[in-house]
């Protein structure tokens, strides 16, 4: 029997991964959305279900405008993904322990094959970033060849969400371990950050002051955490109006 606070983790196992998103340079091109779907084997729900709010994306570009037509003022695009909260509201409400906190990566894990589909976590997520497999969606023939072997394919009735491309984190950690070194900043990044043509998304170790993500954050000065007032301790920082 071990208590959580008694766990001792080796250096390569620990780490606080985080992301900064610069809304001012986001063009809203949706490349991150497409890259994420391909990297993480996300189902394509089709026109009808997508039209009814069942589109499955782990990251989405929220677009807002102020005022009434024709005096419309666009506000910066807002990429929204799982904020990997330090104090996540989705975790305690799952009766089956299908979404839990990872000690090693400081992320919210989603255990697909443990999920029974009560959808309480999605209901309790203030960011509404969880995606539910409403049906078994079809993958027309050539598309099945595109599946990423590193990521589980989810079936009907299961909740899923952004993992910060945890398969890439682990791959990089394994490689570094076999070569007897630490993971180098910039050695890998998430699919969304990789695909962003404007480099609006930067991913890395936020507990390392020399990492790119920390440097970007310092350069920008004050960032915003969404719905910080709820005390969810998000790991994603936004910059806007800089």
């Amino acid at each position: 029997m071990i208590r959580p606070e008694e766990i001792k983790m080796s250096a390569e196992e620990t780490g606080k991964w985080g992301m900064v998103i610069d809304q001012d340079i986001c063009t809203g091109c949706q490349a991150c959305v497409a890259a994420c779907a391909m990297e993480n084997n996300i189902s394509f729900v089709g026109e009808v279900d997508a039209g009814y709010g069942r589109s499955m994306h782990w990251i989405r570009i929220e677009r807002f405008w102020e005022g009434a037509y024709p005096e419309v003022k666009m506000t910066p695009n807002q990429p929204m993904l799982c904020q990997q909260c330090g104090h996540a509201t989705c975790e305690p409400v799952c009766p089956a322990f299908a979404t839990v906190h990872s000690q090693a990566e400081q992320l919210n894990l989603q255990v697909y094959n443990r999920c029974v589909g009560t959808r309480y976590c999605a209901n309790n997520c203030p960011y509404q970033v969880r995606a539910f497999n409403w049906r078994d969606y079809q993958r027309p023939e050539p598309l099945s060849n595109q599946l990423n072997p590193d990521v589980t394919v989810r079936r009907m009735g299961v909740m899923e969400k952004c993992t910060f491309c945890i398969q890439r984190i682990h791959k990089a950690q394994d490689k570094a371990k076999s070569e007897g070194r630490e993971v180098v900043d910039g050695e890998f990044t998430t699919a969304c950050a990789q695909a962003c043509p404007a480099n609006a998304i930067v991913f890395g170790r936020v507990d390392d002051p020399e990492s790119l993500v920390s440097q970007v954050a310092r350069a920008h000065g004050h960032g915003v955490k969404h719905l910080e007032e709820l005390g969810t301790l998000p790991n994603v920082t936004y910059f806007k109006g800089g």
Partner: protein, 178 residues
Amino acid sequence: MTESKVVDLLAVFPDLEPAANAIEYLREIGVHDDCMNVISGIPVTEAMLGRPAQWTNVPRIAMGGALLGFGAGFFLAYITPYVYPYPIQVSTQAFIPGPPTVVVLFELTMLGMLLSTFLGVFLDSFFPNYRPMKYVTEVSNGKIAVLVECPHGEEKKLTEALKKMGAESVQPAEAQHL
């Protein structure tokens, strides 16, 4: 097997009053309270019939069940989180959360108590019991039946006396399939 020395008499009374009088009479002529039993269609209290209070284990069994239920709740709330080899952290909530523990302990205590109360009725009354028993169906029509163990040879005397006390019928009780 020795031959039984007593014969059971079953006297059926139309009402509470004559039944209570008959019981008093029986006691006066030396029939012990343990040798009588009353069968009724409604819960007639012992005090109404002037009978000693009945012993029941139901409240004790219920308390025992409550303790067992509390134990089960304790196991669930305090032991099972440690069973998994790696401690599971959700949010920043305590590993053993305080208030939810109260909920679990409460529900399982109540469940244990109510289940054992139910079981207690079965144990104390020897339910279910489908063997032949001494019974008359008039009882469920509101009649009150008094079951007396009568020493051999005194049936006639007793029958007479009970009839005098207002019994509608007095017969040797025979076990029958209900």
